[in-house]
Subunit: 324 residues, 2 copies
């Protein structure tokens, strides 16, 4: 059995080796650029972890794992156009460095490339892996559409928010695990259990992101707190605060979220203070814990890999406790 | 063996039946919208024709044929954003009717949906069909990138132009035929021959498009002549005219293509006159004939379907002779 660290190393090297040295360069340069920006490589590592956990040959999972990472970066590329984001991982986004047309088309190409890698799997499991991947791909698009809808929607419920982050973020984490399990020829029940584990961990992961945006050690987090607040983003914290607020607090929240402030800190600190009064910090942490534990329950249902779950639990625990 | 007409009917009905009645509607409405805009349905019909020609069961080719049409419409959707085109088939483009973000994301979803249909093929041939499709998908993106590059490039050769239209247009026509052949379990040689037939017919098809834009009966063509001229598009006609022009004619061409005219007809007629002087009309027609005949030669290499080629030749001939 492989350690988490050794799997992370395999993925890091696999992606570093990945250079699309093809013509036209205008199409492939942005692809190489975004894949070189780094990142946690969370999804491909989870794919290998799951494969390993079910006793599979991880060398059979490497290509689909890379395919998943290419797909994930494709979604970032297109999301950044839609969000008009100037910066990704401290560097210019593709549509800024080149232009939106290049970003659209490189993204499309990445999507096709991701299928290429996904399908580089043993014939026996290829169709199942394709189905798991493609369902996920469609759901990620649905999640992004809900996210865009929410921007102009004033009645977003927490249930709808959870549904959105499940689609936009959690299903790809879940799908990565399931694909790793399928490579290892896990039973349909176990593939489903690991998927449901990932789905819940994925929701916890996104809630943790929401939390870190407001309550984190800025130095460790690597960026200034309050980005979501400035963008008036309807995160779990935002929705929970509106839900719990009495009429006066509600008005204050409304005031902060509907006004542009010359001094950004005034807005961030104003909202943060309300969040603190309402205990949003610990409520969110409890919610994270809830989804984390739900996830673990699905992992518990998997019987025959009991001794092999440790690396996966360790990794999930790291995600929960992470400060960046 | 099915007649061309009956296959066209099957495709028309298959696509008419295709409604994505899913949530979020903001994502799926544009998909239903663009698929309902109509069009020749050229590619899926070719897919069924090829399957039928090789004695395959066309009901096995219907899903991949629909997948190809979804993919084709996805490329139109994203190309229209990149070209900022306001109109497609007489109706508003998706990015105009909704907005560019919706168009990006609906397009992404269509791409995933196209794979879904492509993979609904008998297990035995599924991987081969996937490979043929995915290579095509990547090449279509490359072709679109070359097309965008050419806009700002002043040294586009005719050879490079042919390469571009081969990638952007011809390979999907070729791939449609090959996929139909693969469904019918044609030999690798025959699948390659029908592909090469399609590649050449596809180039002829695009050259015909270039020609019709300038020299066509406007009433039959359904739109005003000269769209490519107004857009300063480097078509075969444009490149050939620059190649053949003496220095005085070269200057005239340069004049027309580097100036905005208040009166559009002045520009169109000015260029058209030069094309006429240089015999560009008949030179282009000869070029179309050349690629058409090259295509037919690959069809001739296919031995055991001699009696079944008639519908395909008839269809290719219609494409060559079409006036719209």
């Amino acid at each position: 059995m492989h350690s988490l660290q050794s799997l992370q190393k395999i993925i890091k090297e696999g992606i570093a080796d990945l250079t699309f040295d093809k013509q036209p360069v205008e199409l492939y340069s942005p692809i190489n650029y975004i894949l070189d920006l780094g990142g946690k490589r969370l999804r491909p590592v989870l794919c290998l972890l799951a494969c390993d956990m079910f006793g599979g040959n991880i060398s059979n999972a490497l290509d689909p794992a890379i395919g998943i990472e290419i797909f994930h970066n494709f979604t970032l590329l297109h999301d950044d156009i839609m969000d008009q984001a100037p910066i990704r991982r401290g560097k210019s986004t593709v549509h800024e460095k080149w232009n939106p047309n290049v970003a659209i088309l490189s993204g499309d190409t990445m999507m096709a490339l991701s299928y290429e890698f996904i399908m580089k799997t043993p014939e026996k499991v290829r169709s199942k892996i394709f189905s798991a991947f493609n369902q996920t791909a469609i759901e990620v698009c649905e999640g992004q559409q809900y996210d865009m809808n929410f921007e102009s929607q004033n009645d977003v419920s927490i249930a709808n928010y959870i549904k959105m982050i499940r689609l936009k973020t959690a299903v790809l984490i879940a799908g990565s695990l399931k694909i790793g399990a399928l490579v290892a020829e896990a039973s349909p029940e176990d593939a489903d259990n690991i998927y449901r584990f990932g789905e819940n961990i994925g929701i916890a992961f996104q809630l943790k992101d929401d939390l870190l945006d407001v309550f984190s050690d800025e130095e460790k987090f690597g960026k200034q707190n309050g980005g979501d607040i400035l963008a008036n983003k309807k995160t779990f914290l935002y929705l929970k605060a509106f839900e719990l607020a009495d009429s006066k607090t509600y008005e204050s929240l409304h005031f902060f979220f509907n006004k542009d402030f010359d001094n950004e800190l005034e807005k961030i600190n104003g909202v943060k203070e309300i969040y603190e009064t309402l205990n949003i910090d610990s409520i969110t942490s409890k919610e994270i814990e809830k989804y984390f534990n739900r996830g673990i329950k699905f992992l518990d249902k998997i019987n025959d890999a009991d001794d092999r779950k440790s690396e996966l639990i360790k990794f999930a625990d790291q995600l929960k406790k992470r400060e960046f």
